[in-house]
Every structure is written in structure tokens, then in C-alpha cells.
């Protein structure tokens, strides 16, 4: 057992301090140290995307980053999507479109989709498929996931228009 390191990061908007071993991945740290088990372990080789989190707004495989590398970073996980129990538009649309079956890949898809919509509020279907290409799903065949993301994007745009009109 090697010495543990103190890491300070922002996780889902909250300043967090935690101890981890240098060999522990960010994924292990989130799941085993911080008990944020939403991010899933699939392949541990960066191929499946089930462990995708946002680091300073960029989607990364948390299995391919060390917990100690989170020092000073802003991390967003699936746990931070719902606000006060209200699901975000992506989560709602995944449910409406039945975009999940076993659910293991879903947190990663939600985070990759969020990374896309944060940068590109009006993606084409091709852009959605490209943005989700690093996330594997063996149940749904992807179509329902893509539709949910396009639908969530449309929903978020109309919400944006309504709140702009209200101002």
C-alpha cells in the first residue's frame, strides 16, 4: 500500500477533498472513495465509455485518468445531472424513448450527450452519432439513444427560447 495523497477538486459543483492512492483511477476514486457509483466500470481500457465523466467540461474515460490527476479540476458525473430531484432533459428523454435496457452504459451516454449539447445545442444526427461513438451499448442498437439526444436538444432549445421570451 503506497501513501495516500490529498486531492482537492470540484465534483458536481461542490468543493471536495479526498484521499486516494496514486495508482487508483479517477473511476475507482469516484466509486470506492466518494461513493459516487453512477459512473460504471466496463472495459477499463477506454473502449466502452461507461465510465465517462466531464473534466473541465470535456468528456473523458475516468478509467484512464488517475484520481490524483483530478487535483484542481472540475468534475461532473451522472449524479450531478438531476437538480433537486428533477431529472434533466436528457434523462427525461432517455426514459421517454426507452433508450436503455440494462442501463450500464447509460451514465456514460448521458455525460457524452451533455458534453455535446453544452457545446452544440443544435446537433445533426451525424454529429450526435459522432459524439456518442466512444460509448458502447449492447442492448438498444443506438437508435433510441440518438433520438432521445436529438429530442432533448430540441427541448432544451425551446426551453431557452421560452425563458428568453420571459425576460
Amino acid at each position: 500500500m503506497s501513501k495516500k495523497t490529498l486531492v482537492e477538486a470540484t465534483i458536481n459543483g461542490e468543493a471536495v477533498e479526498f484521499l486516494c492512492e496514486p495508482r487508483q483511477s479517477l473511476l475507482e476514486t469516484l466509486r470506492d472513495v466518494l461513493e459516487l457509483t453512477g459512473s460504471k466500470e466496463g472495459c477499463l481500457t477506454g473502449d466502452c465509455g461507461a465510465c465517462t465523466v466531464l473534466v473541465d467540461g470535456r468528456a473523458v474515460c475516468s478509467c484512464l485518468m488517475l484520481g490524483v490527476e483530478a487535483q484542481g479540476k472540475n468534475i461532473a458525473t451522472v449524479e450531478g445531472l438531476a437538480v433537486n430531484g428533477a431529472l434533466n432533459a436528457l434523462q427525461t428523454k432517455f426514459l421517454e424513448h426507452a433508450s436503455l435496457q440494462c442501463g450500464i452504459c447509460t451514465p456514460g451516454f448521458l455525460i457524452s450527450a451533455k458534453a455535446l449539447l453544452d457545446r452544440n445545442p443544435k446537433p445533426t444526427e451525424a454529429e450526435v452519432r459522432y459524439a456518442l461513438a466512444g460509448n458502447l451499448c449492447r442492448c438498444t442498437g443506438y437508435d433510441k439513444i440518438v433520438k432521445a439526444v436529438l429530442d432533448a436538444a430540441a427541448d432544451l432549445r425551446s426551453q431557452g427560447e421560452r425563458s428568453a421570451a420571459a425576460r
Binding site: 503506497s2 465517462t52 474515460c61 484512464l64 490527476e69 457524452s112 461513438a133 466512444g134
Partner: protein, 289 residues
């Protein structure tokens, strides 16, 4: 994974000193997309990871119309493909960086790391070779520069000695009427390891080729410079006959392996095809530049 230590120096001197102290047991950590997998699989025995992402020189991405490009070893693939400057001046290297893995990988992986990983099938290495890139290395004995085609020595091994690290890649400014291209063959649309990868750069003088360089990936134990293939077109019009001759010369230097991704014969054949196509694309771009 076995126990490791982690340090994140902020200067080159500190990094060299830490790397020197631990010698063979230390390795720089950049995006981690190769090394963490290799450590977990027991393919490398590194005990000390030295995170080099906080070192200013390794994050540089600067272009000068005379001096060319200084590409810090830790600059991520996504920063390259989102850079207007890179797309305009080095479209071939940019497309190579843009087709490594998924967005999750591109957000972490760097061109410098791709080179230091030493894979014969690295996508950005043939593109760097085509551009005449030089690797600037810092170490206990000072700095040295190595042409990228001489950087890899065998699969997974490079010229880096214990204590040394790659600082940046120095790429000449594009000459007038020049451009580059990178093509790879994989049996699907995205996200696979190159069966063959070819980078090409072409400088035109009227309708003739003034200068050209070709980098070949996944067809030998290390990425190769296709010097003879380039000679076949220099001083000539880039017509079908010249492109065919370049393709044949590129195929001739290949010493590929048979594996699940492709047979020897297939790789040799595809090298010729991709060489012709990459040269033609680079020349088309050069006409417009």
C-alpha cells in the same frame, strides 16, 4: 495496478531531475490513454509516473510564419483538431489527431504521447514524418533533437533514455503551395488501430512537385520515412504514372507482419494505394494554398 508514485512537476528541470532519480522505473504521464492500460496489463513495470501536463513548454502551441510550429508534447488531440491554425497550415496532421480513438480519448491523448508510446501503428507519427518534424528532447545532459522518423526504435521503444522526456515537436513552416494529408485503412469507419497509415506532404512549383515527404505507419516495426517513394515524384508532374511509381516504391519498403488486422500482402498492397491517394489529396490542397 501495482503501487506507483505520482509527481506533477511544473518545470522542465524538475521533471528531468525526477525522471533521472528514478531512471528505468519512471515514465512521463501525459493523457494516460496508453500507459495506464499498459500498467494494468503488466506490459510496463513503471513505478513512478511523472505527470508532465503542468509544464508550460509541453503545452505550447505556437506558429510563426518563418520558424514554423512548436507543438508541445502534452497538447491534446482535441486542441489540435479544434485549432483553426492547425487546420489551415497542417491539415494532414490535424486529421491524424482527429481520428485517434473516441472524443473521450482525443480529449486526453496527445500527439507527443502518441509518439512516445512507440507504436508502429501510431496515427500521428506518419503525419509528423511527412511534415519533417523534429522531436526536441530534454534530459540530464541538456537538450537534443531527433528527426521523428528516427525516434522509434522498436515496438514500444524509443530513443528516449532514462531521465529524458519529449518537450515538443518542431515542424517547419509550410512552403508556398504546399500541404499535407493523412489516410489510414481500418476495416470500419471510426476507432480502430491502423492496418496501414500514410502521411504525405507535397510542395508544388507550377504543375511539378518541388518537394515531397511520405510517412508510413503499421507496415514495419517502426513508422518509416518513404524516401524513395518521394524521390519518384520530385521534379515531375503528379500524373498517374508518377503516383503509381510512388505507390510501388512505398510498397517496396514495407516489412509488415501478418496479424488479425491484415496480412503481409494486403498491407503492402494498401500502402501503395494509400500513398497514391494521400499524395493526390496533399497536392490538391497545395494547389489551393
Amino acid at each position: 495496478m501495482h503501487a506507483i508514485t505520482y509527481e506533477a512537476p511544473t518545470t522542465l528541470d524538475q521533471a528531468v531531475s525526477i525522471l533521472k532519480t528514478h531512471g528505468e522505473n519512471a515514465r512521463p504521464l501525459c493523457g494516460g490513454t496508453d500507459i495506464l492500460i499498459q500498467l494494468r496489463a503488466g506490459l510496463r513495470r513503471t513505478e513512478h509516473l511523472v505527470d508532465v501536463k503542468k509544464i508550460k513548454e509541453l503545452q505550447a502551441l505556437s506558429f510563426d510564419a518563418k520558424k514554423g510550429l512548436r507543438l508541445g508534447a502534452a497538447v491534446s488531440c482535441i486542441e489540435i483538431s479544434e485549432s483553426e491554425l492547425m487546420r489551415r497550415h497542417y491539415p494532414g496532421l490535424t486529421e491524424a489527431a482527429h481520428l485517434i480513438g473516441s472524443l473521450q480519448i482525443q480529449n486526453r491523448a496527445s500527439v507527443g504521447g502518441n509518439l512516445c508510446n512507440g507504436s508502429p501503428a501510431a496515427d500521428t507519427t506518419p503525419a509528423l514524418i511527412a511534415l519533417g518534424a523534429r522531436a526536441r528532447i530534454a534530459g540530464p545532459g541538456g537538450e537534443r533533437e531527433v528527426p521523428v522518423e528516427s525516434f522509434c526504435v522498436s515496438p514500444g521503444r524509443t530513443v528516449l533514455k532514462p531521465g529524458e522526456l519529449l518537450v515538443d515537436l518542431l515542424i517547419p513552416a509550410p512552403a508556398p503551395h504546399s500541404s499535407d494529408a493523412y489516410l489510414r485503412f481500418i476495416p470500419r469507419n471510426e476507432m480502430d488501430i491502423a492496418v496501414v497509415g500514410v502521411g504525405a506532404s507535397v510542395t508544388l512549383d507550377g504543375d511539378k512537385v518541388k518537394a515531397a515527404r511520405i510517412g508510413l505507419g503499421a507496415v514495419a516495426a517502426t513508422p518509416l520515412l518513404g524516401a524513395k517513394a518521394a524521390e519518384e515524384i520530385i521534379g515531375k508532374k503528379l500524373d498517374d504514372a508518377a503516383l503509381d511509381a510512388a505507390g510501388r516504391a512505398a510498397s517496396e519498403v514495407c516489412k509488415p507482419i501478418d496479424d488479425m488486422r491484415g496480412t503481409i500482402d494486403f498491407r503492402i498492397h494498401v500502402t501503395g494505394v494509400l500513398t497514391r491517394r494521400a499524395l493526390a489529396i496533399a497536392a490538391e490542397r497545395a494547389k489551393k494554398s
